[in-house]
Amino acid sequence: MVPLLAVDNLVKKYGNLTAVDLLSFDVEPGEAFGLLGPNGAGKSTTMMMICGLLAADYGEVRLEGRRLDRTHPESRQRMGVVPQDLAIYPDLTARENLMFFGSLYHLSGSKLRQKVDEVLEQVGLTARADDFTETFSGGMKRRLNFAAAVMHDPVLLILDEPTVGVDPQSRAHLIDCIRSLQQRGTAIIYASHYMEEVQVVCTRAAIIDHGKLLACDTIPQLLKQIPFEVELRLGQSRVPESLSLGTSARIEMDGDEAVVRFSTQNESCELTLNSDVTNILTTLARHSVSVRSIRTHEPNLERLFLKLTGHRLRD
C-alpha cells in the first residue's frame, strides 16, 4: 500500500553543514506521527522541504504517491501547515483572516463562509469572530493560527510546535482539535519539544539529531528502549556494611542522603518490579533501615529523547 507521505533519503546541506542527512520515513493516512529532535536537529528543515519551502539537495517527498514539486504549487493543495510562529494578520478580524487563507486554497462563496463558521466553532472563536486579532490573547491567536491551516480539509497536517506559549486551557483545546482531526482521517506530523504532547497525540514518532534518524517506531515500541526505574530514599546517611540488595540495585549518596536505585527493562516489567521492590523492602527492614520516600520513573519519550540525543546543551 502506498503511504500518504513518503520521505525518501532527503539531504539538505548549507555549505559544509549537513542539516538533513539521508532522512527517510513514511506517514500513513490518518496517522499521527511525531517528529522529535533537539534544536538544530533538522526538524524544521525537513518540514520546510516537505511543504515545499525549501528544495532538497537529494531525495524526494511523495504525497499520495505523487512527487511534491516546488515548481508546482498546486501539489500543496492537500497539505496544511501550522507554523511555529504565529502567521495571522493582526489588522484583520478572525473571520477575515480565515476567509483570506481559505480563498488561497480555492474555497469561495457560501462554501467558504460555511467553512469559516465551522472552523471558528471548532477552535472556540465564534464569539470573537469579528474582532481584530491584535486584541486576542496568545492562546486565541494560536487557535486561529491552527484554524487557518485546516480551512481546506487537508489530508496531511504539519504542526510545528503548535502549542508554544499558550495557557493550559488553550493547549488542551488545541490538542483536542488535533485528535479530533486525526480521528476524522487527517494524517498529522507533529513536531514539538513537549514530549508529553507527542506521547498523547501521536501513535508513532521519529527522533532525529544532526539530520539523521535515530529512532522511528510506534510509541510503545520506542518506550521499550527505556527502563522502568525505582528510587528509594532512605532516611539516613549511612547504611550497614552488611546490607546487600542484589545485583540489580545500587546504593548511591545524594548529598547526605542514601538512595537505592534499581531498574528493569524486561518485557514484563510490572512482575519483575513487584518482586524486586518486595525483596528490597524486606531486606531494608531486616537491617532496620527506614525508607523515607519511593519514586518511580516510568519510561517516557523525554527520557528516550535525552538518552538518544544526550544532555549537552543545544543552541
Binding site: V81, D85, A87, Y89, E96, F101, L104, H106
Partner: protein, 415 residues
Amino acid sequence: MISTDAFKITLKDLRLLSRDRRALVILVAMPMVIIAIVGSSTGRLRANREQSRQGLTIEVADFDQSETALRLAGFLASYDSVKVRRAEITNRSDTTVLKKFQVERPTDEIDMRLVIQPSFETRIRELSTTLLTSPDESTRKDGLATVNLTLISNETATDPMMEGLGKSLVKLSLQNAILPILAEKVPSFRGAARDSAVPVAWEQSAAAKALPTDSGNRVYQFFIPSYTVLFVFFLVNIMGRSFLGERDMGTLRRLRIAPIAPVAILMGKTLPFFVLSLAQTIILMISGRLLFGMSWGPQPLLLIPIMLCTSAAATALGLMFSTLAKTESQVSSFGNLILLSSAGISGCLVPRAWMPPMSQKISLFTPHAWALDAYSELLTKELPNVSTIGQSCGMLLLFSILFFVVGLYRFRADG
C-alpha cells in the same frame, strides 16, 4: 489562475492599507502640504529660472489699437523665444490706467511689459524718413520713448542680458511694423512692406490658450509633477515595510506554503501599491488643478500613460527593494538613501535643466528622470511631442520589467 490568486492577495492588502492611516497620510496628505509650502516659498525663484530658460514672456498693453500697434505685437510674437500676452485694459482713454501700466512692474511669469501709448501710430507718422530709417540717429537713438513705447521689466528680473534681448527684439519688431508707413513716405520700401505680412500672433495659438492665465499658479506646473514623482517613489519605503511586516508576521511563509505561484504572490503584493500610487497621483493632479490652478497641458489624456508607467516603475522598484531588505533598519536606511539620492539625481528636488550636462546624463539612469521628462513635455510645452512622451513611458516600462524580474529572482532564491 495566477491573476485570480494575485487578486485575492491584492484585496487583502488593500483592506490592510485602508486601515493603515499613517501610510495614507504619508502618501497623500504629506505631498499636498509640502507642495504648498515649497511652492509658496521657493516657487517664484524656480519659475523665473525656468522662464529664462524657455524664453521671454512679454505682456503687450495696447492703448493705441492702431494697425501698426497690432503689427508690432504680431512681429514680436513671431520670435521663437518670445511669448506675447495681451494685457486686459478696462478703459483705454483713462490716463490713470495708462500711468499704472507704465509705472507698475510686471510680476511672476511676465518678464516684460510693452506699453503702446495712444498716440503711437500718429507719432510714427510724424517722424521724418531719416529718423524712421536710421533709428540709431538723433532722438530715436535714446530708446523707445521717442515713438511712445514703454518697456518695463519684471520686478524680480536679475538678468541684464534678458532685458537687453527683450529691448532688441522690440526694436526689430518695430522696424518691421512701420514698413507700410515707410513705404508711404519712401516708394523704394513698398516691396518690403508688401512682403512684411504679420505672422500669426502667438496668443492666438492653441498652446497659448492651454497655458494658465494666472501667472502665480505657473510654479505649480513644476512643483506638482516633481513632488508627485518624488512621493510616488516613497512607496519604496512603504512597500518594504509591508513586505517586512508580512515576513515578520510569518504570513509570507504561509502564502508561500499555499498552492499559489511565487509570481502570483509578488503580483498580489505589488498591485495594491500600484493602485495606491495611481490614486495618489490622481489626487495630487486633481488637487493641483483645483487648489493651485495647475494646468494639465494641451493634451490631458496623455497624463494617463504617464501616470500608469510612473506608478508601474515605482511599485516595481518597491518590490525589488522589498525582496532585498531584510530588516527594519535596512528598510529605513537603504530606503531613504534610495529615495533621496534618486530624487536628487533625477531632478525631483533640483530641476535637471539646472544641472551640469554630465549630471543630466546620469539622471537618466533613474526612472524618476524619465517620469519628469514626460510630465515636463506634457505640462510645460505649448505643443507636447507625443513621441518624447512615448519614449519616456517606454523607458519607465523597461525599468518596471527589470525591477520586477530582479524582485522575482530574489524572491525565488530566498527559498
